[in-house]
Symmetry: none
Subunit: 225 residues, 2 copies
DNA sequence: CAACTTCTTGAAAGTTCATTCAGATTTCAC
DNA sequence: GTGAAATCTGAATGAACTTTCAAGAAGTTG
Protein backbone atom coordinates (compact mmCIF):
# COMPACT_ATOMS: atom_id res chain seq x y z
CA UNK A 1 0.00 0.00 0.00
CA UNK A 2 1.18 3.44 -0.78
CA UNK A 3 0.83 6.27 1.69
CA UNK A 4 -0.13 9.83 0.86
CA UNK A 5 1.95 12.53 2.47
CA UNK A 6 1.20 16.22 2.62
CA UNK A 7 4.22 18.49 2.69
CA UNK A 8 3.59 21.90 4.21
CA UNK A 9 6.36 24.44 3.79
CA UNK A 10 6.49 27.96 2.49
CA UNK A 11 9.70 27.43 0.58
CA UNK A 12 9.17 25.99 -2.87
CA UNK A 13 12.74 24.71 -2.87
CA UNK A 14 12.26 22.68 0.29
CA UNK A 15 8.99 21.25 -0.99
CA UNK A 16 10.69 20.18 -4.20
CA UNK A 17 13.50 18.52 -2.30
CA UNK A 18 11.14 16.62 -0.06
CA UNK A 19 8.90 15.64 -2.94
CA UNK A 20 11.88 14.16 -4.72
CA UNK A 21 13.00 12.19 -1.72
CA UNK A 22 9.55 10.90 -0.90
CA UNK A 23 8.56 9.96 -4.41
CA UNK A 24 11.80 8.06 -4.72
CA UNK A 25 10.79 6.20 -1.59
CA UNK A 26 7.42 5.32 -3.13
CA UNK A 27 5.11 7.77 -1.39
CA UNK A 28 2.40 9.88 -3.00
CA UNK A 29 3.15 13.53 -2.32
CA UNK A 30 0.85 16.52 -2.02
CA UNK A 31 1.98 20.06 -1.23
CA UNK A 32 0.71 23.09 0.58
CA UNK A 33 2.43 26.45 0.94
CA UNK A 34 0.94 27.32 4.31
CA UNK A 35 -1.28 26.06 7.09
CA UNK A 36 -4.48 27.48 5.66
CA UNK A 37 -4.02 25.75 2.35
CA UNK A 38 -3.05 22.60 4.15
CA UNK A 39 -6.25 22.51 6.20
CA UNK A 40 -8.21 22.83 2.97
CA UNK A 41 -6.34 19.93 1.43
CA UNK A 42 -6.92 17.83 4.52
CA UNK A 43 -10.67 18.32 4.18
CA UNK A 44 -10.71 17.06 0.62
CA UNK A 45 -8.11 14.36 0.47
CA UNK A 46 -7.21 11.37 2.52
CA UNK A 47 -3.82 12.11 3.95
CA UNK A 48 -1.81 9.60 5.96
CA UNK A 49 0.85 11.91 7.33
CA UNK A 50 1.86 15.58 7.24
CA UNK A 51 5.32 17.05 7.17
CA UNK A 52 5.08 20.52 8.64
CA UNK A 53 7.61 23.29 8.72
CA UNK A 54 7.54 24.99 12.09
CA UNK A 55 8.26 28.45 10.68
CA UNK A 56 5.58 29.49 8.24
CA UNK A 57 3.66 32.63 7.40
CA UNK A 58 0.02 33.12 8.50
CA UNK A 59 -0.03 30.10 10.76
CA UNK A 60 2.96 28.45 12.34
CA UNK A 61 3.42 24.73 12.54
CA UNK A 62 2.16 24.47 16.09
CA UNK A 63 -1.03 26.39 15.50
CA UNK A 64 -1.60 24.22 12.48
CA UNK A 65 -1.02 21.16 14.62
CA UNK A 66 -3.63 22.29 17.13
CA UNK A 67 -6.17 22.79 14.38
CA UNK A 68 -5.50 19.40 12.89
CA UNK A 69 -5.49 17.51 16.14
CA UNK A 70 -8.84 18.96 16.99
CA UNK A 71 -10.54 16.87 14.35
CA UNK A 72 -8.21 14.04 13.45
CA UNK A 73 -5.30 11.97 14.60
CA UNK A 74 -3.16 12.27 11.51
CA UNK A 75 0.48 11.97 12.54
CA UNK A 76 2.73 14.97 11.99
CA UNK A 77 6.43 15.32 11.47
CA UNK A 78 7.78 18.74 12.26
CA UNK A 79 10.61 20.34 10.35
CA UNK A 80 12.71 22.81 12.23
CA UNK A 81 16.11 24.41 12.10
CA UNK A 82 18.28 23.30 14.96
CA UNK A 83 17.58 25.04 18.23
CA UNK A 84 14.44 26.58 16.86
CA UNK A 85 11.48 26.03 19.18
CA UNK A 86 13.17 22.99 20.60
CA UNK A 87 11.06 22.63 23.72
CA UNK A 88 7.79 22.95 21.92
CA UNK A 89 8.80 20.24 19.49
CA UNK A 90 9.85 18.05 22.39
CA UNK A 91 6.46 18.42 23.94
CA UNK A 92 4.62 17.50 20.80
CA UNK A 93 6.75 14.50 20.10
CA UNK A 94 4.91 12.47 22.67
CA UNK A 95 1.69 12.38 20.77
CA UNK A 96 3.03 9.83 18.34
CA UNK A 97 4.43 12.61 16.22
CA UNK A 98 8.05 13.20 15.43
CA UNK A 99 10.30 16.00 14.26
CA UNK A 100 13.37 16.31 12.15
CA UNK A 101 16.06 18.94 12.16
CA UNK A 102 17.06 20.81 9.03
CA UNK A 103 19.24 20.06 7.23
CA UNK A 104 18.61 16.34 7.13
CA UNK A 105 19.80 13.36 5.18
CA UNK A 106 17.28 11.87 2.73
CA UNK A 107 17.51 8.49 4.43
CA UNK A 108 16.84 10.07 7.79
CA UNK A 109 13.62 11.64 6.63
CA UNK A 110 12.35 8.45 5.03
CA UNK A 111 13.25 6.44 8.11
CA UNK A 112 11.34 8.82 10.37
CA UNK A 113 8.31 8.75 8.16
CA UNK A 114 8.26 5.00 8.00
CA UNK A 115 8.67 4.74 11.74
CA UNK A 116 5.77 7.08 12.40
CA UNK A 117 3.58 5.30 9.87
CA UNK A 118 4.37 1.96 11.39
CA UNK A 119 3.53 3.29 14.80
CA UNK A 120 0.29 4.85 13.66
CA UNK A 121 -1.11 2.35 11.22
CA UNK A 122 0.35 -0.94 12.26
CA UNK A 123 -2.12 -3.68 12.90
CA UNK A 124 -2.71 -2.45 16.34
CA UNK A 125 -1.45 -4.82 19.02
CA UNK A 126 -3.64 -2.95 21.43
CA UNK A 127 -6.71 -4.40 19.81
CA UNK A 128 -5.83 -7.64 21.46
CA UNK A 129 -7.87 -8.33 24.53
CA UNK A 130 -5.54 -8.58 27.47
CA UNK A 131 -6.05 -10.89 30.37
CA UNK A 132 -4.94 -11.33 33.93
CA UNK A 133 -6.61 -13.90 36.10
CA UNK A 134 -10.39 -13.47 35.85
CA UNK A 135 -9.95 -10.03 34.31
CA UNK A 136 -10.09 -9.14 30.64
CA UNK A 137 -9.50 -5.66 29.34
CA UNK A 138 -9.71 -4.27 25.84
CA UNK A 139 -8.20 -0.95 24.91
CA UNK A 140 -10.18 -0.83 21.67
CA UNK A 141 -13.58 -1.00 23.20
CA UNK A 142 -12.51 0.65 26.42
CA UNK A 143 -14.11 -2.04 28.48
CA UNK A 144 -13.05 -4.41 31.16
CA UNK A 145 -14.73 -7.55 32.34
CA UNK A 146 -14.41 -9.53 35.51
CA UNK A 147 -15.27 -13.19 35.04
CA UNK A 148 -17.40 -12.18 32.06
CA UNK A 149 -19.29 -9.48 33.90
CA UNK A 150 -18.64 -5.91 32.73
CA UNK A 151 -16.80 -3.64 35.10
CA UNK A 152 -17.81 -0.05 35.46
CA UNK A 153 -14.52 1.81 35.44
CA UNK A 154 -13.89 5.50 35.22
CA UNK A 155 -11.40 6.95 32.77
CA UNK A 156 -8.48 7.07 35.11
CA UNK A 157 -9.23 3.72 36.66
CA UNK A 158 -9.33 2.18 33.22
CA UNK A 159 -6.07 3.79 32.16
CA UNK A 160 -4.34 2.67 35.30
CA UNK A 161 -5.60 -0.88 35.07
CA UNK A 162 -4.79 -1.11 31.38
CA UNK A 163 -1.20 -0.06 31.92
CA UNK A 164 -0.73 -2.49 34.76
CA UNK A 165 -2.26 -5.37 32.81
CA UNK A 166 -0.29 -4.49 29.70
CA UNK A 167 2.89 -4.82 31.70
CA UNK A 168 2.03 -7.44 34.22
CA UNK A 169 4.72 -8.08 36.75
CA UNK A 170 6.45 -4.79 36.23
CA UNK A 171 6.47 -2.39 39.15
CA UNK A 172 5.72 1.27 38.52
CA UNK A 173 6.30 4.21 40.80
CA UNK A 174 3.43 6.58 41.41
CA UNK A 175 5.29 9.22 39.46
CA UNK A 176 5.66 6.87 36.50
CA UNK A 177 1.99 6.00 36.63
CA UNK A 178 1.07 9.67 36.61
CA UNK A 179 3.29 10.29 33.63
CA UNK A 180 2.12 7.28 31.70
CA UNK A 181 -1.58 7.47 32.43
CA UNK A 182 -2.20 11.14 33.15
CA UNK A 183 0.45 12.52 30.80
CA UNK A 184 3.75 14.31 31.17
CA UNK A 185 2.12 17.55 32.09
CA UNK A 186 0.13 16.13 34.97
CA UNK A 187 -0.15 18.22 38.11
CA UNK A 188 -1.61 15.66 40.41
CA UNK A 189 -0.32 14.51 43.72
CA UNK A 190 0.82 10.98 44.25
CA UNK A 191 -2.04 10.42 46.71
CA UNK A 192 -4.33 10.45 43.74
CA UNK A 193 -2.85 7.19 42.59
CA UNK A 194 -3.50 5.65 45.98
CA UNK A 195 -7.13 6.56 45.84
CA UNK A 196 -7.63 5.18 42.36
CA UNK A 197 -5.85 2.01 43.33
CA UNK A 198 -8.14 1.73 46.28
CA UNK A 199 -11.31 1.99 44.22
CA UNK A 200 -9.88 -0.34 41.61
CA UNK A 201 -9.22 -2.94 44.27
CA UNK A 202 -12.70 -2.44 45.57
CA UNK A 203 -14.30 -2.85 42.17
CA UNK A 204 -12.17 -5.86 41.38
CA UNK A 205 -13.22 -7.57 44.57
CA UNK A 206 -11.15 -10.64 45.16
CA UNK A 207 -9.22 -10.07 41.96
CA UNK A 208 -8.09 -6.79 43.48
CA UNK A 209 -5.34 -8.74 45.13
CA UNK A 210 -3.63 -8.87 41.77
CA UNK A 211 -2.73 -5.23 42.23
CA UNK A 212 0.14 -5.48 44.62
CA UNK A 213 1.81 -2.75 46.59
CA UNK A 214 5.55 -2.67 46.09
CA UNK A 215 6.69 -1.08 49.27
CA UNK A 216 8.79 2.02 48.76
CA UNK A 217 8.30 1.79 45.00
CA UNK A 218 4.68 1.83 43.91
CA UNK A 219 2.35 -0.75 42.45
CA UNK A 220 2.33 -3.66 40.07
CA UNK A 221 -0.13 -6.22 38.82
CA UNK A 222 0.76 -9.85 39.32
CA UNK A 223 -0.99 -12.46 37.25
CA UNK A 224 -2.00 -15.41 39.46
CA UNK A 225 -1.37 -17.66 36.42
CA UNK B 1 21.15 -8.50 32.80
CA UNK B 2 22.07 -4.90 33.19
CA UNK B 3 24.75 -3.30 31.06
CA UNK B 4 27.35 -0.83 32.20
CA UNK B 5 27.90 2.14 29.95
CA UNK B 6 30.73 4.64 30.11
CA UNK B 7 29.84 8.15 29.03
CA UNK B 8 32.79 10.23 27.87
CA UNK B 9 32.13 13.89 27.33
CA UNK B 10 33.83 17.03 28.57
CA UNK B 11 30.54 18.79 29.27
CA UNK B 12 29.08 17.98 32.66
CA UNK B 13 25.65 19.00 31.45
CA UNK B 14 25.66 16.52 28.59
CA UNK B 15 26.91 13.77 30.88
CA UNK B 16 24.11 14.48 33.33
CA UNK B 17 21.51 14.38 30.59
CA UNK B 18 22.78 11.10 29.22
CA UNK B 19 23.06 9.58 32.67
CA UNK B 20 19.47 10.46 33.37
CA UNK B 21 18.25 8.91 30.15
CA UNK B 22 20.29 5.77 30.53
CA UNK B 23 19.53 5.16 34.16
CA UNK B 24 15.86 5.50 33.37
CA UNK B 25 16.36 2.84 30.75
CA UNK B 26 17.94 0.54 33.31
CA UNK B 27 21.61 0.85 32.47
CA UNK B 28 24.43 1.37 34.90
CA UNK B 29 26.24 4.56 34.04
CA UNK B 30 29.84 5.61 34.59
CA UNK B 31 31.31 8.91 33.50
CA UNK B 32 34.63 10.24 32.28
CA UNK B 33 35.45 13.83 31.40
CA UNK B 34 38.04 13.03 28.75
CA UNK B 35 39.70 10.18 26.90
CA UNK B 36 42.56 9.82 29.36
CA UNK B 37 40.20 9.35 32.29
CA UNK B 38 38.13 7.01 30.22
CA UNK B 39 41.04 4.73 29.42
CA UNK B 40 41.77 4.53 33.14
CA UNK B 41 38.19 3.58 33.91
CA UNK B 42 38.23 0.94 31.20
CA UNK B 43 41.21 -0.71 32.84
CA UNK B 44 39.48 -0.99 36.18
CA UNK B 45 35.85 -1.62 35.38
CA UNK B 46 33.93 -3.91 33.15
CA UNK B 47 32.30 -1.70 30.58
CA UNK B 48 29.91 -2.98 27.97
CA UNK B 49 29.68 0.08 25.77
CA UNK B 50 31.10 3.60 25.53
CA UNK B 51 29.38 6.74 24.43
CA UNK B 52 32.09 9.09 23.18
CA UNK B 53 31.87 12.73 22.30
CA UNK B 54 33.89 13.41 19.16
CA UNK B 55 35.06 16.85 20.27
CA UNK B 56 37.00 16.62 23.50
CA UNK B 57 40.11 18.18 25.01
CA UNK B 58 43.44 16.26 25.21
CA UNK B 59 42.28 13.39 23.08
CA UNK B 60 39.48 13.50 20.56
CA UNK B 61 36.94 10.74 20.16
CA UNK B 62 38.72 9.14 17.23
CA UNK B 63 42.10 8.94 18.90
CA UNK B 64 40.36 7.47 21.90
CA UNK B 65 38.68 4.94 19.65
CA UNK B 66 42.02 3.87 18.19
CA UNK B 67 43.44 3.35 21.65
CA UNK B 68 40.49 1.35 22.82
CA UNK B 69 40.24 -0.84 19.76
CA UNK B 70 43.86 -1.77 20.16
CA UNK B 71 43.14 -3.84 23.22
CA UNK B 72 39.43 -4.59 23.22
CA UNK B 73 36.34 -4.83 21.13
CA UNK B 74 34.04 -2.73 23.24
CA UNK B 75 31.44 -1.11 21.02
CA UNK B 76 31.42 2.67 20.79
CA UNK B 77 28.72 5.15 20.00
CA UNK B 78 29.98 8.52 18.84
CA UNK B 79 28.28 11.76 19.69
CA UNK B 80 28.72 14.61 17.28
CA UNK B 81 27.11 17.86 16.39
CA UNK B 82 25.59 17.79 12.96
CA UNK B 83 28.10 18.26 10.15
CA UNK B 84 31.02 17.96 12.54
CA UNK B 85 33.51 15.39 11.31
CA UNK B 86 30.72 13.76 9.44
CA UNK B 87 32.76 11.59 7.05
CA UNK B 88 35.05 10.26 9.73
CA UNK B 89 32.08 9.15 11.76
CA UNK B 90 30.57 7.57 8.70
CA UNK B 91 33.75 5.59 8.18
CA UNK B 92 33.82 4.25 11.70
CA UNK B 93 30.23 3.32 11.62
CA UNK B 94 31.08 0.22 9.66
CA UNK B 95 32.98 -1.41 12.50
CA UNK B 96 29.85 -2.36 14.39
CA UNK B 97 29.91 0.98 16.14
CA UNK B 98 27.32 3.66 15.71
CA UNK B 99 26.98 7.39 15.99
CA UNK B 100 24.28 9.79 16.98
CA UNK B 101 23.85 13.44 16.16
CA UNK B 102 23.36 16.06 18.83
CA UNK B 103 20.77 17.05 19.79
CA UNK B 104 18.96 13.75 20.04
CA UNK B 105 15.81 12.40 21.59
CA UNK B 106 16.09 10.17 24.64
CA UNK B 107 14.34 7.30 22.91
CA UNK B 108 16.68 7.56 19.98
CA UNK B 109 19.74 7.18 22.14
CA UNK B 110 18.35 4.21 24.02
CA UNK B 111 17.28 2.52 20.79
CA UNK B 112 20.77 2.92 19.31
CA UNK B 113 22.39 1.54 22.40
CA UNK B 114 20.13 -1.45 22.54
CA UNK B 115 20.68 -2.12 18.86
CA UNK B 116 24.45 -2.03 19.28
CA UNK B 117 24.31 -4.20 22.39
CA UNK B 118 22.12 -6.74 20.66
CA UNK B 119 24.50 -6.81 17.75
CA UNK B 120 27.53 -7.12 19.96
CA UNK B 121 26.36 -9.42 22.69
CA UNK B 122 23.67 -11.31 20.83
CA UNK B 123 21.27 -11.26 23.70
CA UNK B 124 18.15 -9.36 24.46
CA UNK B 125 19.01 -6.35 26.61
CA UNK B 126 15.45 -6.15 27.81
CA UNK B 127 15.65 -9.35 29.78
CA UNK B 128 16.51 -8.15 33.21
CA UNK B 129 16.32 -11.36 35.18
CA UNK B 130 19.61 -12.05 36.89
CA UNK B 131 20.71 -15.27 38.43
CA UNK B 132 23.12 -16.56 41.03
CA UNK B 133 22.94 -20.13 42.21
CA UNK B 134 19.34 -20.92 43.14
CA UNK B 135 18.49 -17.23 43.22
CA UNK B 136 16.83 -15.20 40.48
CA UNK B 137 16.15 -11.51 40.77
CA UNK B 138 14.26 -9.20 38.47
CA UNK B 139 14.69 -5.47 38.62
CA UNK B 140 11.57 -4.89 36.56
CA UNK B 141 9.12 -6.58 38.82
CA UNK B 142 11.08 -5.89 41.95
CA UNK B 143 10.94 -9.51 42.94
CA UNK B 144 13.41 -12.20 43.83
CA UNK B 145 12.95 -15.93 43.88
CA UNK B 146 14.81 -18.66 45.64
CA UNK B 147 14.56 -21.99 43.84
CA UNK B 148 11.34 -20.76 42.28
CA UNK B 149 9.78 -19.62 45.53
CA UNK B 150 9.21 -15.90 45.94
CA UNK B 151 11.34 -14.11 48.49
CA UNK B 152 9.85 -11.40 50.59
CA UNK B 153 12.48 -8.68 50.53
CA UNK B 154 12.26 -5.13 51.76
CA UNK B 155 13.34 -2.21 49.65
CA UNK B 156 16.85 -1.97 50.97
CA UNK B 157 17.36 -5.70 51.05
CA UNK B 158 16.27 -5.90 47.46
CA UNK B 159 18.53 -3.07 46.37
CA UNK B 160 21.48 -4.56 48.14
CA UNK B 161 20.96 -8.02 46.73
CA UNK B 162 20.36 -6.68 43.24
CA UNK B 163 23.62 -4.79 43.24
CA UNK B 164 25.58 -7.74 44.52
CA UNK B 165 24.05 -10.11 41.99
CA UNK B 166 24.54 -7.60 39.19
CA UNK B 167 28.22 -7.59 39.96
CA UNK B 168 28.86 -11.06 41.24
CA UNK B 169 32.36 -11.59 42.53
CA UNK B 170 33.03 -7.93 43.08
CA UNK B 171 33.61 -6.77 46.64
CA UNK B 172 32.00 -3.57 47.83
CA UNK B 173 32.80 -1.56 50.92
CA UNK B 174 29.95 -0.60 53.19
CA UNK B 175 30.43 2.98 52.13
CA UNK B 176 30.11 2.02 48.48
CA UNK B 177 27.01 0.00 49.17
CA UNK B 178 25.45 2.93 50.96
CA UNK B 179 26.21 5.20 48.05
CA UNK B 180 25.03 2.81 45.39
CA UNK B 181 21.90 1.51 47.08
CA UNK B 182 20.91 4.30 49.44
CA UNK B 183 22.11 7.19 47.28
CA UNK B 184 24.86 9.76 47.44
CA UNK B 185 23.13 11.72 50.13
CA UNK B 186 22.69 8.86 52.55
CA UNK B 187 23.16 9.54 56.24
CA UNK B 188 23.25 6.04 57.56
CA UNK B 189 25.89 4.35 59.60
CA UNK B 190 27.84 1.46 58.18
CA UNK B 191 26.37 -0.85 60.79
CA UNK B 192 23.12 -0.58 58.92
CA UNK B 193 24.63 -2.59 56.11
CA UNK B 194 25.54 -5.32 58.55
CA UNK B 195 21.99 -5.61 59.70
CA UNK B 196 20.58 -5.82 56.22
CA UNK B 197 23.16 -8.39 55.22
CA UNK B 198 22.17 -10.36 58.26
CA UNK B 199 18.50 -10.47 57.37
CA UNK B 200 19.34 -11.18 53.74
CA UNK B 201 21.39 -14.17 54.75
CA UNK B 202 18.57 -15.28 56.99
CA UNK B 203 15.99 -15.01 54.24
CA UNK B 204 18.25 -16.69 51.72
CA UNK B 205 18.78 -19.66 54.02
CA UNK B 206 21.48 -21.89 52.67
CA UNK B 207 21.96 -19.66 49.66
CA UNK B 208 22.90 -16.92 52.11
CA UNK B 209 26.39 -18.31 51.99
CA UNK B 210 26.75 -16.70 48.59
CA UNK B 211 27.01 -13.37 50.36
CA UNK B 212 30.54 -13.46 51.64
CA UNK B 213 32.21 -11.17 54.10
CA UNK B 214 35.42 -9.69 52.77
CA UNK B 215 37.23 -8.97 55.96
CA UNK B 216 38.32 -5.38 56.37
CA UNK B 217 36.61 -4.46 53.11
CA UNK B 218 32.92 -5.25 53.00
CA UNK B 219 30.83 -7.83 51.17
CA UNK B 220 30.54 -9.60 47.88
CA UNK B 221 28.34 -12.21 46.30
CA UNK B 222 30.04 -15.29 44.94
CA UNK B 223 28.19 -17.45 42.46
CA UNK B 224 28.67 -21.14 43.29
CA UNK B 225 28.39 -21.78 39.53
C1' DC C 1 -27.98 25.71 35.69
C1' DA C 2 -28.87 21.75 38.50
C1' DA C 3 -27.82 17.07 39.44
C1' DC C 4 -24.59 13.83 38.98
C1' DT C 5 -20.23 11.61 38.44
C1' DT C 6 -15.38 11.60 38.69
C1' DC C 7 -11.08 13.38 40.34
C1' DT C 8 -8.15 15.24 43.76
C1' DT C 9 -6.36 16.32 48.18
C1' DG C 10 -4.93 16.41 52.99
C1' DA C 11 -4.94 14.40 57.29
C1' DA C 12 -5.45 10.55 60.48
C1' DA C 13 -4.67 5.85 61.34
C1' DG C 14 -2.37 1.81 60.46
C1' DT C 15 1.51 -0.85 58.93
C1' DT C 16 6.11 -1.99 57.65
C1' DC C 17 10.76 -1.02 57.46
C1' DA C 18 15.29 1.14 58.60
C1' DT C 19 18.31 2.32 61.92
C1' DT C 20 20.92 2.29 66.02
C1' DC C 21 23.15 0.49 70.02
C1' DA C 22 25.44 -2.53 72.97
C1' DG C 23 27.02 -6.86 73.93
C1' DA C 24 28.56 -11.30 71.91
C1' DT C 25 31.33 -13.45 68.60
C1' DT C 26 34.71 -14.01 65.12
C1' DT C 27 38.97 -12.95 62.68
C1' DC C 28 43.56 -11.54 62.24
C1' DA C 29 48.34 -10.43 63.49
C1' DC C 30 51.84 -11.22 66.45
C1' DG D 1 47.17 -18.07 72.72
C1' DT D 2 46.14 -13.20 73.29
C1' DG D 3 44.58 -8.66 72.33
C1' DA D 4 42.76 -5.52 69.07
C1' DA D 5 39.84 -4.81 65.41
C1' DA D 6 36.08 -6.11 62.75
C1' DT D 7 31.79 -8.34 62.31
C1' DC D 8 27.45 -10.32 63.83
C1' DT D 9 23.17 -10.34 66.46
C1' DG D 10 18.74 -9.08 68.64
C1' DA D 11 15.66 -5.91 70.41
C1' DA D 12 13.77 -1.32 70.69
C1' DT D 13 12.51 2.95 68.56
C1' DG D 14 10.53 5.92 65.55
C1' DA D 15 10.76 7.19 60.66
C1' DA D 16 8.82 6.24 56.34
C1' DC D 17 5.31 4.58 53.66
C1' DT D 18 0.51 3.07 52.69
C1' DT D 19 -4.35 3.01 53.36
C1' DT D 20 -8.49 4.99 54.19
C1' DC D 21 -11.87 8.51 54.50
C1' DA D 22 -14.42 12.55 53.84
C1' DA D 23 -15.03 16.74 51.65
C1' DG D 24 -14.70 19.76 48.07
C1' DA D 25 -13.17 20.85 43.13
C1' DA D 26 -13.72 19.90 38.55
C1' DG D 27 -16.01 18.07 34.91
C1' DT D 28 -20.39 16.09 32.44
C1' DT D 29 -25.05 15.54 31.21
C1' DG D 30 -29.63 16.53 30.40
Amino acid sequence: MSYTILVIDDEQQMRDLIRMILEDAGFIVLEAGDGIQALAVLKQQEIDLCIVDVMMPYMDGFTFAEQVKRTSSIPLIFLSARGEEWDKVQGLKLGGDDYIVKPFLPGELVARIEAVLRRTYRVNPDSIVLQAGPLTISEDSHTAQLAGKPLNLTLKEFGLLLLLVKHKGRAYSREQLLELVWGDDHQSSERTIDTHVKTLRLKLGDAGKMIETVWGIGYKLEDPE
